[in-house]
């Protein structure tokens, strides 16, 4: 099985510790259904840990396994998709709880990018913060892509972050990304804390002008 790979170019700028993510390429995993919430992605009981390290084992736990531990029929259990790095979903993926544990569990499961009809906002922001692109495509293109993957589980899918395109076989479909997410991922500046730390003085200035931090004077 071919390893998923990201095109990584090391930035010369020292402040940026992030690799530039210009494309994600690998096998794909179709996960149909609208409104898949973050409680499904990672049940709350697995949030009782002070690191994200083990979350990969528990992604979609209750959808994948019965109470007695026996595996259920679920795309994440399907051997045909083993090793996939691009998740393909429908509408409003990641709705509900703000838990970053959801994208962290997918990342640790091996997912490197998600293509879907639409994403819940907090989830999408959390993905960006950890360097996982979320791209949207039309309902028709997603459904077609899902069918093609089912027929060809070994299919090589390529998400071109810079050019807003997903390519497979001889086809290409247009995708949309939040422009800010596309920019920071492709430039390797998705580590938001470095970005924010640069403006410490302006931050203090803003705070000094806020009435409620200054006795409303």
């Amino acid at each position: 099985m071919r390893e998923a790979r990201r095109t990584i170019r090391t930035m010369s700028a020292i402040q940026n510790q992030n690799p530039e993510i210009r494309e994600v390429r690998g096998r794909a995993l179709p996960l149909p259904s609208n409104d898949i919430d973050t409680d499904q992605i990672i049940p709350a009981r697995y949030l009782k840990a002070i690191t994200f390290d083990d979350l990969g084992n528990h992604a979609f736990r209750d959808q994948r396994f019965a109470a007695d531990g026996s595996p259920k029929d679920h795309p994440f259990n399907d051997q045909r998709y083993a090793g996939a790095s691009i998740l393909v979903v429908n509408k409003n993926f990641g709705c509900g709880s703000s838990r970053e544990h959801a994208p962290q569990s997918l990342l640790r499961f091996g997912i490197r990018a998600i293509i879907g009809e639409s994403f819940a906002e907090i989830f999408a922001d959390n993905c960006t913060t950890i360097g996982m692109p979320t791209a949207t495509a039309s309902k028709e293109d997603i459904e077609n892509l899902m069918s093609v993957i089912r027929e060809n589980p070994a299919l090589d899918l390529e998400l071109d972050i810079e050019n807003n395109e997903a390519r497979y076989l001889d086809f290409s479909i247009p995708v949309t990304q939040k422009e800010s997410a596309r920019t920071v991922l492709s430039q390797g500046t998705w580590d938001s804390v470095s970005l924010l730390l640069k403006n410490r003085e302006k931050t203090d200035e803003t705070a000094r002008a806020l009435p409620y931090l200054n006795h409303f004077r």
């Binding site: 409680d39 009782k48 002070i50 409003n92 509900g96 703000s98 819940a120 302006k202 009435p211």
Partner: protein
Amino acid sequence: MGKENLFNKVWKLHTVKELPDGRTQLFIGLHLIHEVTTPQAFSMLRERNLTVAYPERTFATVDHILPTHTLKRPFIDVEAEGMISALEHNLRGSGIRFFDPSSGKQGIVHVIGPELGLTQPGMTIACGDSHTSTHGAFGTVAFGIGTSQVRDVLATQCLAIQKPKVRRITVTGSLGKGCFAKDVILNIIRTLGVKGGIGYAYEYAGPVLDRMSMEERMSICNMSIEGGARAGYVNPDETAFSYLEDREFSPKDEEFARAVSWWKSIASDPDAEYDDEVTLNGSAISPMVTWGINPGQSVPVDGAFPRLGELAAEERKTAEEAYAHTGFHPGERIRGTKIDVAFIGSCTNARISDLWEAAKIVEGRRVAKGIKALVVPGSQQVKRTAEEEGLDKIFIDAGFEWRGAGCSMCLGMNPDKLVGRQICASSSNRNFKGRQGSAAGITLLMGPAMVAAAAIEGKVADVRDYL
């Protein structure tokens, strides 16, 4: 006067910088933290040798995994004990105020913020919890964030975030007998859909909102995220100002007067512009119950489980999935659906007025045989007030369990969980599969008075029969 809405005014005021990627570097006026979404954030700070930039603007409590039946340490659940110890360790020497159980001020983070007067109009508020939208009831820009963003706020008191559009939702008319804030927000979500709010902040307005108490407005703003909107708010008015008077962290005396005049100035201008507007007739709202696996799947209590053919084509797939999970029968009446558990609690509906409404229904009656019923006050202060007023006795005499403050059965992270295929009438905010701690469990969302009525009858009941 300008034509600005509150959201844009507050956003502008807190803008540190427009970032080159198109996002805003937004100053966060109030940061609330709890035990579950912070340990990794503190670890990230340590890994990078960063310290907390504005410790006086972050406040901590414990709510998600705290048991509600005992506070005896160490907790039996070693993971819970580990997480709470981690928070205590992370806070030590940080300068961050911690409202732990021994403070008498502990509670669900979205209950204690307003209760302590920390939440004030015109602030930007962030917390590692999607129900942070609750604080919008005071005319704030308040939203949930992930753990890496908690790290960002700790390290810089700022977030890199995209400004949403603003949709005003006007609720006209007046609510009928037995209808409450929960019914209004369930109606809004049903009308606009669970993803209708993506990319938007919601401004809730109109006569129904104007007449509501702060606690009712909090219940509405709380569930903005269930409609896809990361933030929701109500313009601050006299109701908000009088709520804030004499709270621990509220401005005092002349400062309060100055505060009120500033709070008035940040409200939406009378001719403010919005990116979208929606109007709902509040007089047509009935008490609501959810029937499916997302908060948009609700019907009036005198309605029926919808038949697939009645639903928009787009909603059928999720509806089929819902029926596969619940085993309910399309076409059957929802009233009379048997329940196993009744839960009054959560950041949506565990404030004192919620307990008043539920107690009115419960007083002098008994919980139906075989029903597990619990009341979990939203904070230690709510609990104390309720006990001073004798509400605890009313609930206990009726057969409810009277618990300590916490998130409890809303999310299945503490000992309060559904078991197997139990069906729960719940005043919480999410009916997702497995949400209440059992993968096969079923949640019927409704207002707290409706939960009380369901507990009495042992099945979904119409609260209007009790008023």
